[in-house]
Symmetry: D2
Subunit: 422 residues, 4 copies
Amino acid sequence: MILFHPQSTNKEGIYEQEIEVEGHLIDSMILTKIFDRIMDLKGDFEVKEFRIGKMKRDYSYAKLMVRGRDQDHLRILLEEMYRLGAFLPKVIQVKLVPAPADYILPDDFYSTTSHPTQIMVDNKWIKVKEQMMDKVIVVDRKTNLARCKFIREVRRGDLIVVGEYGIKIKPPERPREGTILFEFMSSRASSEKPSISIVKQIVRDLYKIKKEGGKIAVVAGPAIVHTGVDLSFAKMIKLGYVDVLLSGNALAVHDVEYVLFGTSLGMCIKDGSVSLKGYRNHLAAINEITKVGSLLKAVKKGILKKGIMFECIMNNVPFVLAGSIRDDGPLTDVITDTFQAQQKYKELLRDVKLVLMMASTLHSIAIGNLLPSTTKVVCVDINPAVVTKLTDRGTAQAAGIVSDVGTFLPVLVDQLERYPIK
Amino acid sequence: MILFHPQSTNKEGIYEQEIEVEGHLIDSMILTKIFDRIMDLKGDFEVKEFRIGKMKRDYSYAKLMVRGRDQDHLRILLEEMYRLGAFLPKVIQVKLVPAPADYILPDDFYSTTSHPTQIMVDNKWIKVKEQMMDKVIVVDRKTNLARCKFIREVRRGDLIVVGEYGIKIKPPERPREGTILFEFMSSRASSEKPSISIVKQIVRDLYKIKKEGGKIAVVAGPAIVHTGVDLSFAKMIKLGYVDVLLSGNALAVHDVEYVLFGTSLGMCIKDGSVSLKGYRNHLAAINEITKVGSLLKAVKKGILKKGIMFECIMNNVPFVLAGSIRDDGPLTDVITDTFQAQQKYKELLRDVKLVLMMASTLHSIAIGNLLPSTTKVVCVDINPAVVTKLTDRGTAQAAGIVSDVGTFLPVLVDQLERYPIK
Amino acid sequence: MILFHPQSTNKEGIYEQEIEVEGHLIDSMILTKIFDRIMDLKGDFEVKEFRIGKMKRDYSYAKLMVRGRDQDHLRILLEEMYRLGAFLPKVIQVKLVPAPADYILPDDFYSTTSHPTQIMVDNKWIKVKEQMMDKVIVVDRKTNLARCKFIREVRRGDLIVVGEYGIKIKPPERPREGTILFEFMSSRASSEKPSISIVKQIVRDLYKIKKEGGKIAVVAGPAIVHTGVDLSFAKMIKLGYVDVLLSGNALAVHDVEYVLFGTSLGMCIKDGSVSLKGYRNHLAAINEITKVGSLLKAVKKGILKKGIMFECIMNNVPFVLAGSIRDDGPLTDVITDTFQAQQKYKELLRDVKLVLMMASTLHSIAIGNLLPSTTKVVCVDINPAVVTKLTDRGTAQAAGIVSDVGTFLPVLVDQLERYPIK
Amino acid sequence: MILFHPQSTNKEGIYEQEIEVEGHLIDSMILTKIFDRIMDLKGDFEVKEFRIGKMKRDYSYAKLMVRGRDQDHLRILLEEMYRLGAFLPKVIQVKLVPAPADYILPDDFYSTTSHPTQIMVDNKWIKVKEQMMDKVIVVDRKTNLARCKFIREVRRGDLIVVGEYGIKIKPPERPREGTILFEFMSSRASSEKPSISIVKQIVRDLYKIKKEGGKIAVVAGPAIVHTGVDLSFAKMIKLGYVDVLLSGNALAVHDVEYVLFGTSLGMCIKDGSVSLKGYRNHLAAINEITKVGSLLKAVKKGILKKGIMFECIMNNVPFVLAGSIRDDGPLTDVITDTFQAQQKYKELLRDVKLVLMMASTLHSIAIGNLLPSTTKVVCVDINPAVVTKLTDRGTAQAAGIVSDVGTFLPVLVDQLERYPIK
């Protein structure tokens, strides 16, 4: 019989295991979470060694003895510890098992966190690529490259990481000198923060990222058109502050409706009046694009002359419109297969430094699942529950703003114009 | 035995009564509500006569026979009809009974609606003054003046209207040519309406009211300070668009804290940084005002030099700060007795044409109870439930905007500056 | 030149047209909406004839002259009137134009409402089948059958209804004797209604529908599992109160996770404790089903022995799991193409009398778009904005309840057990 | 010139000060917050000494050198440290200054936190009584007793604590073996937790507190009556689980209306039907109580025979009804002066172990300001923003449940009946 935790010892009914952890243990709350978790799980611990980082930038180090009441209890305790960044003093090779069939995982598969992860292969720590939460890690033995895969990407014979050994997770650290926004917003989402100041902080962050050559992705919902700020967003794209646009059918349909007819769901954006046959404008918008074949062709043929999709196309900003079951149409540009759309989202999110989510619940949650914990997230929504859900990542990398995109976006773009990057 | 409804007839077990109603019966939904209510209450009706207004501005008239299954059922039906604007063909004098003691009502007291009401005294229809909902009507027989009173205002011997006769209610009518905002917003509160267009409509309405010499009251919560737009609101007062300010302790305390220390609950409004001993600033703000005695004296002594309360005082805008149980302090200007504060609110609301409610639940609800249904209400709040509650008055006189006051108010004031009234 | 409205007359600069309308014009607010709309659009009208239904069950009839300031203005006015149920005195044949290509509509296509609609073909009124909102009407000239089609269903040569003539809409009527729930809930969604009484009313409605052989569809979100009431819902299915289940991947994955491991997203449902490797349970749940191939096979092989999906399969309740971009996995049972999933939803919704929507925003909105206005909708959600959005259909057929599904569902099922239908 | 921080040293332009802190520094996040705060404020630190508690129950100890860029910066840093529980190695006597007049504080007054606080007087640490947030500490030199006072309680000559020295705060610690609920709910408020399990945990906590002789206070809003669970709450009182009831006029008025007329705001609670003259029932309820003089007299005279207020009176449960500006009436039992009501609340909250807040925003926030951080708080509301606001105390002592009180309370009381304490 193989012992699950080969290093754990059983001395006269005591099940214990030594673990180590290092990093900014205190202020990044790593040690707090480890102690918390042991107590929550009714385990016990002893601090065998502790060296605290003397200066602000120094790492701390701790060696703990964790004790459970039996083998299973200790297993639970240790597995939780590993996910919080602890590791065994004597490193073990990661275990790899081939997938028995397409889409099917070995029973003991390892499920990933969103934190940067390394695995021990051939006595070397290998960084896992394309880190995402709730995926599996597949290793290519020829190249010794490891990356996260969706279940649907798993193919028969893929070597999948199993068990909990030989894996080291680096929980996100509190930035030593954070971008101002994230310090400022360190508490939770609130509608009682000074809005203009927050906008200014976001602008400084966006500017800094662009100056350093970083990529910004924007997730945007159709409320941007309904609330009358289609052209504000279009200007943000033109200003060069959007490198990737991730959205769905509705944003593009309403943008086209607004550009072609001046309405949103039939209501005139300018003065709220009812327009001739306004109720059919969104179907007519879809029809105009379908006639020419795509948004790109509509721009080329001079049908679309302004607006969000126009600016994306003119400024070579790649976009993905993911299908959803509530779509009208949809436009021919929409990827109706949700798995394909996920893949396309993931591809465009590569190397993105910051994701700005505005008034879009479905697509924002989808994207949250595709991001490593190191990517910054700024979420703006009128519904505090959405903001909390999207920014509650246990990191200092997420800021939530409860605001009305219809008044927020013009203020943002007005500020962005003061920081030209082109 | 006195028959409750003296005009109702009982023909072989059928309990029926003829009623009349007139006005814009169709588009103001008066008749719809009457038919609805009868059906909800499982009564029956027959339309005896109906003249529809031929042109847009013509009144309609209906005579209905209402039938119940017994005397009590008919009573319920009729009382509901009266409250919806129906009246008996043959008018009866209103019945008055003296209050048996201070604060105590005769058992059969009549409870008011917020709609304009007339009572029949000495064969004449008398208009009830200070119309408010859920109050009683007191008649002075010497002057034959009638007005609404709070229970706490009732004194022994006051002649109180009882029963349901001799009372005529005029339900609010759909404006023939409404101010644009209220047409525009005719549907319910929404965060998916074009924000900038709505602001422009509000501005046109405010301007129109001021041009016609009307009064505007503003109810404002402390979020105006927290979200960093204290000075925007101050400018709105300076521009002459606020005739009355109704609020509580918190708005004034935070305004003073902001003016004296630049912080709101200790956070620097300008850049979100922490200020020296910021946590005690709101108590210190109270202390500074208490030392000199009042906000007025603080302005006079040059302690307060800008901000919301400063502009009220400099521009002779009367204000009431009503106490609440969650107050710190409170300031000496606060009326801590809630009944006295209610009286003071009511007094200042007299002749107000429009109430703008911003980010204040408690005081806005209080004011809703003090307004006749003819006063316009515009409510701005980030919480859709608050907006719905405050504008759901069954009239075309209320508009709700789900928005963030921190971005909404600067946009509003920016527009107001284009419509100078001073 | 063809006159747009062939019956409208132009007498010395007056553009006017006579229209008729009949039904429960007053209490179903048909006439109110017609008058409202004309005034909103700044048109004018004259009532030429009006016969009011004398008794509760009698229809009313009106003939109106509508006037616009020019031809275009009159067109807008009339098109709005038609959508509200008005029609021209002299009936015109509907106009049909073939689709120029697959998915492409003739420019003047008619966009449907959700209300029962008839079209005039060969001098006969034909009822349109599969009524849905924002679709087009396609007529088969061989059989003279008309039905609503999605844009994506349109094939080259399909005869599409264009223009606004020869079309008669029947707006929903206030039920003369509504099921109790919908009377009771006639006002809007509220969290301040007596919860237990509402549950009892829903139960009576569900029972009545089943007794009369009607079909009930349920839309359910994963919160049903998270809040710990998976087995309550399973019992509801077993009791025979669910004829169709419409949902997505998450409900099924969490149901399987709960059944196999007792957890929901890794948290033990029973006592909230953390389970061994709980964080990977939802992926493991997907893996178990993928291994055997489908939920059906998992039931047949004895892997799934209880829960929501188990009861659906055992009781022959058809279900559709629609894919979304935020899915993990997804399960092999999920339809990942959103257009195919829409089609499947539509198919199962045929003949459904009532849709109960619980804690599911995305799928509920999708379904709202697929329903005629005659289908009853009951929506239960903790978020008042969702409830309002889903039940705000301008009909007396929708009831919204703001409640916590975790305490609501057990109370509902407890009551349902008292009304056995099997 | 007096140095502000007498122990801080200035070595060649370096402004630094040694501080100490002890307790469960890691898992109670005390040290995390200290490090965080220094970094937020752009200060620097060095860990001079650190002893970590080896076992779960051992205290840790740290000595830090904090550095600022100048005297003012260091002051800010240190004052923040003190509020987080740090203290100076060499203790200084607290400084006391007499209040110059009634209600007026010395300029440098110390503003309290809600955490247990000690002050150094005559070389002894004295525990401050009646700990509340945002108050001042007054010391009686005769008895050397210290307690928190509201500004309004301050009288000329009262000795007020000023400055930041000689004060030691004990931040709340994570319970070593928490009551289960608070462990379970350790994350934030959520509507996606297993409701029934949570109710069971609350019941176990309430039972444990009562068994140990602890006091439970309940804050309750009128939604308890509107949602039809008046009698459930009445039963909870009868079962002995309510030691103090804190509320306002509305709860009592609606309770009386329900008991006397079976309605809530005129709607029949039992079946949602309309009652005869229902709209005046809440005024009539007030009138009935005013006639006899008080709720107590109404019970004695047999007018009130059941319900919430009846059970309070019959079971000697003290209650306070605080006035608010939105009140109708109010009842004679209501304290209309908000400052008096605050005082009365505070008095009844003395020694309370747990406060259960249900569906009441105003009174719950008021009470939050009166509680030390050691009192447990459980908050149940349908609005997630209210729950977050009320439980966001940075302690492990608060649990929030987003639920509908109308279905939550019956389930709670059903469980409480299984744990008889009488």
